[in-house]
Symmetry: C2
Subunit: 253 residues, 2 copies
């Protein structure tokens, strides 16, 4: 493991959170200012951070460009973009797309509802979701081959975030059976008490579930029942996206 690289990563993260002075950078790393300065100078020349007029460091456009390069090359995200925007427009709810990526399930797109301007959802593109305490996580888990599901869950330390969390393997397994039976999943405040969500599976050309689409509401805006009223649209959207990926949707669900 490289200590210098870890320090650089730490500074990039902090510069993304809020503007960072040299003195602060040295303090948080626990190194001399000259050491922090050289790391920042290297990151600045790479456009991973930018020096502001006030002398502080913020995230640079080089990171944004790399991110857009990666997101732009994701076929799933490209195919899903228009159907998800349509779903958001028709239902009024915030819409997410999450994908299994290695050992994590990551949000790769999000179409915000204007109704949420005042209350920000915690979800963010690039961020991993809880695989057992989110609708998209449970959806993808439900359809994974048993060995792969076991492997993902072997790293998990179950935590009861709220009273409705499936906080052990048995209750989660029962929930996954339900999800497979009905073809969709619900998050009834399992990670955050005020956030409700429904999700539907997205399949690739071989029929494997590799992603999920979801609609999210918070309790002051819409109840779970109101969210479920739009479930048929969500399911149609997920099937449409699956079709774009080459899944033969005539086989039935």
């Amino acid at each position: 493991m490289s200590q210098s690289v870890r320090r650089a990563v730490d500074l990039i993260r902090r510069a993304a959170e809020h503007p960072l002075s040299l003195t602060e950078a040295a303090e948080v790393l626990g190194v001399h200012k000259s050491t922090a300065l050289r790391i920042l100078q290297t990151l600045e020349s790479a456009r991973f951070v930018r020096r502001t007029g006030a002398g502080t460091y913020v995230l640079g456009s080089g990171i944004i460009e790399l991110s857009e390069l990666a997101l732009g090359s994701m076929d799933l995200r490209q195919f899903a973009a228009a159907p998800l925007r349509t779903l958001q427009r028709k239902t009024g709810h915030t819409v997410h797309l999450a994908q299994l990526t290695g050992d994590e399930i990551i949000y790769i797109d999000k179409v915000d509802s204007p109704a949420f301007d005042a209350v920000k959802l915690p979800s963010r593109i690039g961020r991993a979701v809880s695989i057992y305490a989110s609708a998209v996580g449970k959806t993808i888990l439900a359809y994974l081959p048993t060995a792969e599901r076991d492997r993902l869950l072997s790293h998990v330390v179950f935590e009861r975030f709220t009273p409705t969390t499936c906080a052990d393997r048995e209750s989660l397994d029962a929930e996954l059976v339900r999800i497979r039976e009905q073809g969709w999943a619900v998050d009834n405040g399992e990670h955050d008490t005020y956030v409700m969500c429904v999700a539907a599976p997205i399949r690739d050309s071989r029929g494997r579930v590799i992603a999920a689409a979801s609609m999210t509401a918070i309790e002051v805006i819409a109840s779970l029942d109101q969210l479920k009223e739009s479930l048929p649209l969500l399911l149609d959207t997920a099937i449409q996206i699956s079709g774009e990926l080459g899944y033969d949707t005539s086989e039935g669900d």
Copy 2:
């Protein structure tokens, strides 16, 4: 300057472009495989790269998350998102938002036209634009205070990309006078012969032009004259966004 950090940056960039094996990583850096491995292991633990099942390294979701954090905290981009989507829907053209950031003008949002699925535009969020050979670049330059414009242009080596490029300071200055007179700018294939663009200035609460919005077409889809037919909508959108930023739009243009 930190050599290890520069190597890490290089690997992150390459992993974003295409999957990278350890052997390739060592070769492109000119170091031993054990050295490259340790850098990659550090980046992987930070989620800046991800190891695929095939053993290659690709860009990690940690970078995507940082990028979204930065983009999500840009007020201009938040205020502009809905008006730009409306503009794209009404006109059918691809729409961009570019902002002066330090010494560069960077695309910070882009709403694609479905018509472009087959032909990809070179523009990308996070990427710097040519400040003298793009409509958004010329728009922002036109309204900068002279000292700041001179400072930005002092770093520029003019290059004639196409027959229509303003490839020297005199012809650029004349063009900037025209832009200030008419209140908008045109790119008639100045950077890429097949790309046309019109742009309008966006002002902050103090009336300074800090960004520009644009509509883009390529010659097989729409001519520059067809693009100009939507100019009133573009100007209205730019004024609307300026208003959201606190600019008093009743002062006249």
